[in-house]
Amino acid sequence: MPAEILKEKFTGRVQEVVLGATKDEGGTRAYTVKLGGSSTLPFLQFEGDIPNRPVIAFEIWDIKPDWHECFAEYYSDVWEDPVAWAKKAEELGADVIYLKLRGADPELENSKSPDECAKVVKAVLENTGAPLMVEGPGNPDKDNEVLQAVAEAAAGENIAIGLAEKDNYRGIAAAAMMGKHCIIARSPVDINILKQLNLMITEMGVAPEKIINDPLTGGLGYGIEYSYSIMERARWGALIGDKMMAFPVVCLAGPEAWRAKEANAPLEDAGPGWGEQKPRGIMWEAMTAAALLQAGGDLVLMRHPEAAKLLKKHIESLMVPNVY
């Protein structure tokens, strides 16, 4: 008896978003990265096309981060210097550099000014070739000032700026439009707000091909299933033609995974059977990322080079065509 392969026929697809601009396009990036574009569920290439594989972004900060000591081995020689750190991220295989401007947090002593932030971004752009994403310090007023300055400094480079949220998106959307950059729209693990925020940003005049969604992914063991199901539902919405759900998704796998005690605890504080911290931490991040890929992540933010290596290999195997 012949077996018929069941193929879902979808009418919609995920919007394709290009990040970065090369010399020909008015920027200085060595290459651009395309996100989204899929017309099928994650990796189901037999019933639709996946024109762009998920990409890996490396997280870097503009100040020394408060991360677990296991990262010192990779980053201690660069994490006082965002430019050197960005170059290192490229060496380690980053498709995209994701710069968090934590140093601009107004709660900090010597909080960086918008001008200083713009200089950092400019310097990173001058010394690297990967497309760039820039996240503000997380304080609404300061985010607006900083991202405005960053958007101007990076004019022509088609970076992504964020995070735009429901109560703070106008200034950031305006800055993104002025500089012709992409915008990262974050919703708090809430699909209704995700959709509404996309509509509001679109109504401001931001083009669909400039919007990236951050559904605020939870880490493994700490609510990842909520994000997972929201991302699945968003992808489904996109595929059945809901244009306000059809934007590429960025997953903050690294930062979320490393908030877990299970990633950080040394052997002497570990729970029974947890084993050594080193492989455990790496796997915690890699597994968080791998799960979010299955839910439809288009760009995965990673922290640990070994976890990123594992994920890269995993993506390569998932992208082998499974056409019948």
Binding site: K9, T11, I191, N192, I193, L194, K195, Q196, L199, R233, A234, G237, I240, G241, D242, K243, M244, M245
Partner: protein, 264 residues
Amino acid sequence: MAFYMIGERINGMFKDIGEAVAKFDPKPIQEWAIKQTEAGAAYLDVNVGPTAADRVKSMRWMVEVIQEVCDTPLALDSTNYDAIEAGLEICKKPALINSCPCERPKIERVFPMAKKYGAKIIALTMDKSGIPKSADARVAFAMELVAAADEFGLSPDDLFIDPLILPCNVAQDHAPEVLEALRQIRTLSDPPPHTTLGLSNVSQGTPFRPLINRTYCVMAMTCGLDSAIMDVNDDELVDAIATAEVLLNQSIYCDSYAKVFRQR
């Protein structure tokens, strides 16, 4: 599942369209094409009306002038299949044939034509003897139509089965039978056929047309209705459909859901 709104307004039965067709004046037709597209119509019904001298020529002309101003897919509405074929030949997007009853000679003409042009079909649960009353009889016709689709190499997904609603003032007992028929039609095949209604018929001759239309539409949606030939410029009706879609968990809620519904 998304609800397909089929805009009913470009029909020669309406005075302005009838006159436009007679005089080959594209303006009223194009205005309604744009207005209905902006309201969120998935298809625009195109009917030359009873007064057109040459239906084939009029249909082709109407399709041409509509496609000059928008690219919304068209529902070619005629009992003259030569007129429909003339329209299909120049449709830029896959069209909907409106309609084919459950009569063998017509099925043999329409179904292969749909296959040839990649069109879908509004298929009526009736034959020469007229519209049946019971849900069972309507479903029996639907079953035959689904089988015929298979016979001619079409998928049930290519069918929009119309169980034929009648005015509630003169044929009140039909309304619940149609609801039951809709429920059963969804279970006939996998994938199920689409269903549709000439929604405005339900209120024909009553003084409460918009209220009756939107109430019945919501009731029918809970029974599986996923399209309707309707007044897409009736904002309260469109709001009711958008709301029903959300409450059936067919589209994702957001505060501006009714606006998003019209934009897709």
